[in-house]
Amino acid sequence: MGLVDGFVALFSSWQAVLFTIIGTLIGLIGGAVPGLSSGAMISLLIPVTYYMGPLPALAMIYAVSKSSDFGGSIPAILFNTPGTPQASATQIEGFPLTRQGKQGKALRMAVVASAQGDVFSELLLIFGASFLAIYAARLGPPEFVGIYACAFLIIGGLLGKSIVTGLSSVVLGLLLSLVGTDPITAGERFTFGSFHLFDGIGLVPVLLGLFVLSEVFEKAGDTKAGAAEEAVAGTPTHPDDSRLTWSDYKRVFPTICRSQVIGSGVGILPGLGSVVASFVAYSEARRRSKTPETWGKGEIEGIAAAEAANNATSGSNLIPLLTLGIPGSTAAALLSGVMLVHGIEIGPRVFETSHDLVYGIFAAGLLCIATYFVAGYWGAAYLGRLIARIPSRVVYPVIFLTCYVAVYSTEQEVFDMVLMTVFGIAGFVMKKLGMSPAAFIIAFILGPGLERALRQTFLLSDDGLLFFLERPVALLFLAMGLVALVLRLRRSRKA
């Protein structure tokens, strides 16, 4: 039995266990620092792994990528500033809870949902990898066009104040994602001659600007008397505010289950990423909710949906990587780099040729989940109480300047600081106008993938758009997106 062998392999090496735990803690802390992405942390650790054994090296890298997914939700909930991009869906419900003094409950909800989604995804990876990989491999460019278009329509339709402003945000994101070089011809476009823009507008400056700086701008403009005197967090008034009760969990359990399926599904498809997973799961949970009026004002169900989906991508991401050699995320790409250096031949037979090692990594994944669950569940409540005392007039300057040094750390380019500031202003204006930074960012992330898939589709067949008629799966996704949009239209007419 593979997993048993994996645990034996993991626990027979004290280094592997130690580095899994170290990796988990690095990921937690790094994930909690806005702007320091898991990709950045892993790149940093790669040279260190050259001199470690394969299992400790891979276990550590894998643990960093997993736990940073949860770590990012801590500042999202406490300060309305996501530590990682995928936590931006968590902040929608998380921060209002903090304002109400329920940060302890919110953090515990996040860690429980994260861990459950993660375990589900890990089990899927362990027992279903080779089976699922076959289906993932069959999806070609036309199917991806369908999937991207579906994601655009669902998110654009649901996240804006109105459908038109939502779609406007999507178009704006799409337009800015086109800056840089063409994915097929490599010709440059929309760079306005600036060589900083040759490889496009960087994601980290855009994210930090839109989600973090804009928040500080908003706070600066908040002239309500005494706003700056207040602590960021409210004070818990009831013991249950800092607890996650059994009845809370029972209520959100179905949402977590649905979200972890969404997350795992998105994780298997290369290139969509956990930001998409968390927003799709959040939108879906909000759409299904019987009490839509509680959403956006601090609904733990929203945290559960976003976090379960976001962490459920981390295990299933490895499915296409291990079986087909296709990295589905930055973290997976870096993991494959470490595997390359350790001479592991990633491919259909990796489960046989590197049996103990692969299952050892899976075991490390489970150990990592247990570690961040323990640290998160009990540490989070303590952290929540601590944060409640810090006044916002200290918090926001610190967040502001942390962004600048963090964005510099990703590329060591001062230009990124300028870009981040510009997007900070843009995010502030967008929020004022009722546009959706979330819909914008999804389109911005998915734009290049959509374009590549679309162009490939036209090259793969002489039939042009008619080619989609031969691809039922692609049509299905397109139809799903359109139906979601029409349903939303009808509902907004009624309202």
Binding site: S37, S43, G180, I184, D199, P327, S329
Partner: protein
């Protein structure tokens, strides 16, 4: 697809060497460097060229008086954005590039990208090489390069266009295969489709979207049950997968398209710096850790100093020039 961080950071690299007690520090000077070297890589972190660069970066500080080498990834656009970045940098040795020269040369020769490589850059040393192989799915009747040519012709007669995948126009596999098709008079019977990276290119073939492809030869052993290599596009067999015959052995017209991995800098680097750096690269390639890491990663190590590299690259460029001109013309039609 560009995932969460499109551009991934490269930071301080030399950390672990001394920690492992690698070797006694050799007599070395810093080649006049007072700041860490930024080595730009035109591909994402985790890929083949990136691994070469990172392994070099982990071994070289010892021979540069402790000066670290930092890897900065600027992926996309067939390395052209990365080349433009390095071209624009001061020639003080702080900004260098680890470039896969096959794609690097071809993308600049194929199209007017504002780069004339031999005028704008100066090679410091070659320290690796990758070869391209023509691959098809296992289980078809195509076993040799001649079979592939016959298959394309037969499909053409049946009114079908055979499609093939490569990791981007101007990439070494794109030009290599185009040259092969052109030389055999079957270019018009095919359509190329660019995919993302080596993995995407391979998966398009695995999933049946396309019928053949070109792939880095060293990546093939892991897929030996699914894919079949009909030949390597070089004069000599690849040192890592030496069981695949070359097209030369098969007497099929083609243009050799090996891709040397080269450390280069902007034109205007001083002779002293280039000589000094080139020597440091040579010492690094002889380092035990470097040898062990490249061996594990199945990466071929070939060292050429600055002058040899320049001469070799020029000979490659000359060999490619006629084909590139033809491909260029065919793209412009």
């Amino acid at each position: 697809m560009n995932t969460i961080t499109r551009r991934t950071l490269g930071l301080f690299m030399g950390a672990a060497l001394v920690a492992t007690g690698a070797a006694a520090p050799a007599a070395a000077d810093s080649c006049g460097l007072t700041r860490p070297v930024k080595a730009i890589v035109g591909y994402g972190a985790g890929g083949g060229t990136d691994s070469y660069a990172r392994i070099l970066a982990s071994a070289i500080p010892e021979f540069l008086d402790g000066t670290p080498m930092v890897i900065v990834n600027r992926p996309g656009g067939a390395q052209v954005p990365a080349m433009k970045f390095v071209k624009a940098a001061d020639p003080d040795g702080v900004t260098l590039q680890v470039v896969a020269m096959g794609g690097g040369l071809m993308s600049t020769m194929l199209r007017d990208q504002g780069i004339s490589w031999f005028d704008d850059f100066r090679p410091i040393a070659q320290f690796g090489v990758t070869n391209q192989a023509l691959v098809v799915r296992q289980g078809t009747d195509v076993r040799t390069a001649q079979d592939l040519i016959d298959f394309i012709k037969a499909q053409n007669e049946a009114g079908e266009t055979v499609r093939w995948s490569h990791p981007g126009r101007g990439s070494v596999s794109h030009v290599g295969v185009t040259a092969f098709l052109e030389k055999n008079g079957i270019l018009d019977m095919t359509q190329d489709v660019p995919f993302q990276g080596g993995a995407g290119t391979r998966n398009a073939l695995l999933s049946g979207e396309v019928d053949f492809s070109a792939s880095g030869a060293h990546t093939l052993p892991a897929f030996s049950d699914e894919l079949h290599a009909v030949g390597v596009l070089s004069d000599e067999r690849d040192p890592i997968v030496d069981d695949i015959p070359t097209l030369k052995e098969q007497d099929i017209p083609f243009v050799p398209t090996s891709s040397p991995i080269v450390l280069a800098g902007p034109a205007g680097l001083s002779d002293e710096f280039v000589t000094c750096m080139s020597a440091a690269v040579e010492q690094a390639t002889g380092h035990e850790a470097f040898k062990a890491l490249t061996k594990k990663a199945q990466q071929a190590v070939v060292y050429r100093d600055a002058d040899e590299s320049l001469a070799y690259l020029q000979s490659l460029a000359d060999a490619w020039a006629p084909t590139v001109a033809e491909v260029r013309a065919s793209l412009a039609e």
